[in-house]
């Protein structure tokens, strides 16, 4: 019943977070790539790549996570987008949800949270 390997895109400008989230994804068997901002996330999708999961930070240079989420959704991208933010203020959560994220998580991610997201993805 083994499905194909899941893929994820980490969208974050913080190198520390990139390292940690990459390691976490590797440890649960999810193939992953990193981009540094929202625009690079759009570009990578425009080049034809797609991912099962997108971990989207909010505050990034060039293009932030909310903007990138809106554009990805308007491009027809239906991947699970998890907003991963260090901002826990409600106002940003609402903005993010309205932009089209599926789930809002606070940094740092934990293996438990990651596993529950992967479980959700596998169910579809």
């Amino acid at each position: 019943m083994e499905s194909r390997q899941l893929t994820a895109l980490i969208v974050d400008d913080d190198v520390l977070i990139q390292m940690i989230h990459q390691k976490m994804l590797n440890s649960v068997g999810v193939k992953n790539q990193v981009v540094e901002n929202g625009k690079e996330a759009i570009d990578i999708h425009r080049s034809g790549q797609s991912f099962d999961l997108i971990l989207m930070d909010k505050d990034m240079p060039v293009m932030d996570g909310i903007e990138a989420t809106k554009i990805l959704r308007s491009m027809g991208i239906r991947s699970m987008i998890a907003a991963v933010s260090s901002r826990s203020v409600e106002e940003h959560m609402e903005e993010f949800m309205e932009a089209g994220v599926d789930i809002y998580l606070e940094k740092p991610l934990s293996i438990t949270k990651l596993n529950s997201i992967i479980h959700k993805i596998n169910k579809h």
Binding site: L16, I20, K23, S27, S86
Partner: protein
């Protein structure tokens, strides 16, 4: 007299002395039943270091320097990435020095740009949270409140506190890593804390 080469266990040794055999130092001792036991001095040291490491890490957690996130990072480390935690923490040290410097410069401006200052503190809060640096993270939270209310005095105090906490954390972590490296060099395994 029986000579037995053994592992270091919890035995009471009498008449302990050092013996050199084939360039390796052994500790010799007699048990209550006059059995002479030899074990490498390195394993004595190793056990001591392992105990010191466990104790040191436990106290860092107890005193709030580190929280569960640090343990999560240790759990992520494996044979294919044996230096993962040290690499992450080294990066955190670089980040810290950079951000603390930025905060200091921001507070030297006239007038102070509290939004810019807040952006640096916010970033530091994020990176400290991601490595489990709990005390640093908590000071960042207070710092952000002072930025919000544009309380210059409060901000200056928080920066001092932050520099102090960072310095303590760095010293403690460097001690932790030194112990780990000693243990690894002696061929031992790093004990983990749950």
């Amino acid at each position: 007299m029986k000579i037995v080469k053994g592992q270091l266990n919890f035995i009471v040794l009498l008449h302990v002395s050092e013996i050199w055999i084939h360039k390796h130092m052994y500790v010799a001792g007699k048990t209550g039943r006059s059995v002479q036991i030899l074990f490498p001095l390195s394993s004595l040291k190793l056990t001591t270091w392992q105990r010191q490491l466990r104790d040191h890490q436990a106290s860092m957690i107890r005193e709030g320097f580190l929280d569960d996130q640090f343990i999560q990072l240790q759990k992520l480390q494996d044979e294919s990435t044996p230096d993962f935690v040290i690499e992450v923490i080294t990066m955190f040290f670089d980040d810290s020095e950079n951000l603390l410097n930025n905060m200091k410069r921001a507070l030297e401006q006239s007038p102070v740009d509290f939004r810019q200052l807040d952006a640096h503190v916010h970033q530091y809060k994020g990176s400290s949270a991601s490595v489990g640096a709990a005390r640093v993270k908590n000071v960042c939270a207070s710092f952000r409140n002072f930025c919000d209310t544009q309380n210059l005095e409060g901000c200056v105090r928080c920066l001092q506190q932050l520099q102090h906490e960072y310095s303590l954390l760095k010293n403690n972590l460097q001690h932790l890593f030194r112990l780990q490296q000693q243990i690894q060099a002696a061929g031992g395994s790093i004990p983990t804390i749950e």
